[in-house]
Symmetry: C2
Subunit: 194 residues, 2 copies
DNA sequence: ACCTGAACACCGTTCAAGT
DNA sequence: ACCTGAACACCGTTCAAGT
């Protein structure tokens, strides 16, 4: 009679909690409380916290808006990169969650494939395109991680005196400059062959 | 009579512990034990764990080997990037520690300045050079973070099935490809003006 | 199939008090 | 100047047992 839960409930509630209170407050015990359940009950749905976070990360990246396929490749790379950034920004600490699971082979392959496909119409080799997809994904996640950390630190009113990277108040200049450099570098490399 | 400690002792021991057992095992209580002291004693030397980690991060980056200043700027950027990567790789979980403190305005300004200076002889504006330094630093830290996470995961014998980014067994191809793309993109942008 | 209750082995941090 | 001892308010995870 009482509300019993599915794994999807658990992940969805975790996502809510993440967005409302941040990763530091997303504990198994708080999640259990939000579901009106004992903490131990979660371990029926999920083997451990790390797997839970991987499912949350997948959910975050899944929500990245689709991008038109009939753009030329530089435009498409820029659009995919922007879509991924927006997806990470859509949830509090989204980049940190994704970043902490990305290397474990648990998530992010879909995002990587999108970036790989984006260069399909370039003259690059598959090897070059794979490398470029990795570079882009690492830059995007690394950048948004930093963006979100910074706004978190600012929210605490830390008033840091000597912030090396705090030259990006609008939060997007470094990002688009970075994507542009990578795209231009890729074009230079490929164009040198044509 | 008994060994009393300085803040430098505490940071140095934290660095040792980090390298031997990783960030997850670098707890205040374990650090205290390594210093033969109660955990509460650490709070005389340091206001909290986060500040401790920031000091550790600074220590890691300080050890980056110096690079010749009379290279042309693309070579110098590559050399500085490599030196930073090596510094992060020199300690277990080095990139994670640096990454977690970089946005708090606590560390990494020295590293950023090194990357900024590296483009001094290019024809770029200061604004462009600052943006490029940020892009490089974010890529470097993000990349090494992923590298170290991956070797950690591999050490656990996780045998992940579908690892999107696991195309970099030698651990350096994605890195140098990324730095090259950024450098080439920067050159294209600057060269278009000359 | 899904959950409780109790326990285990931990955390970071504070604070009065000691030397 | 540097540290102890005790406490507070937490963690993730396991496991027998319940329904």
């Amino acid at each position: 009679m009482t509300t019993r839960h599915s794994r999807d409930d658990v992940v969805a509630t975790a996502l809510d909690l993440l967005d409302e209170h941040g990763l530091a407050d997303l504990t198994m015990r708080r999640l259990a409380a939000a579901l009106d359940v004992q903490a131990s009950a979660l371990y029926w749905h999920v083997p451990n916290k790390q797997s839970l976070l991987a499912l949350v990360a997948d959910r975050i990246l899944e929500r990245a808006r689709p991008v038109e396929h009939d753009l030329d490749w530089p435009e498409r790379v820029r659009a995919e990169s922007g879509a991924l950034r927006d997806a990470l920004l859509a949830y509090r600490d989204g980049a940190e969650v994704v970043s902490s699971t990305i290397a474990l082979g648990l998530g992010a392959s879909a995002a990587w494939v999108r970036l790989l496909e984006a260069t399909a119409t370039s003259d690059a080799t598959v090897d070059e395109r794979e490398l470029a997809a990795s570079v882009l994904l690492e830059f995007i996640v690394g950048h948004v991680f930093r963006e979100q950390q910074q706004s978190h630190a600012d929210a605490l009113g830390a008033a840091a005196p000597d912030r090396a990277l705090d030259r990006d108040p609008d939060g997007g200049r470094v990002f688009s400059f970075g994507v542009d450099l990578i795209v231009d570098g890729f074009r230079a490399r490929v164009g040198a062959r044509a």
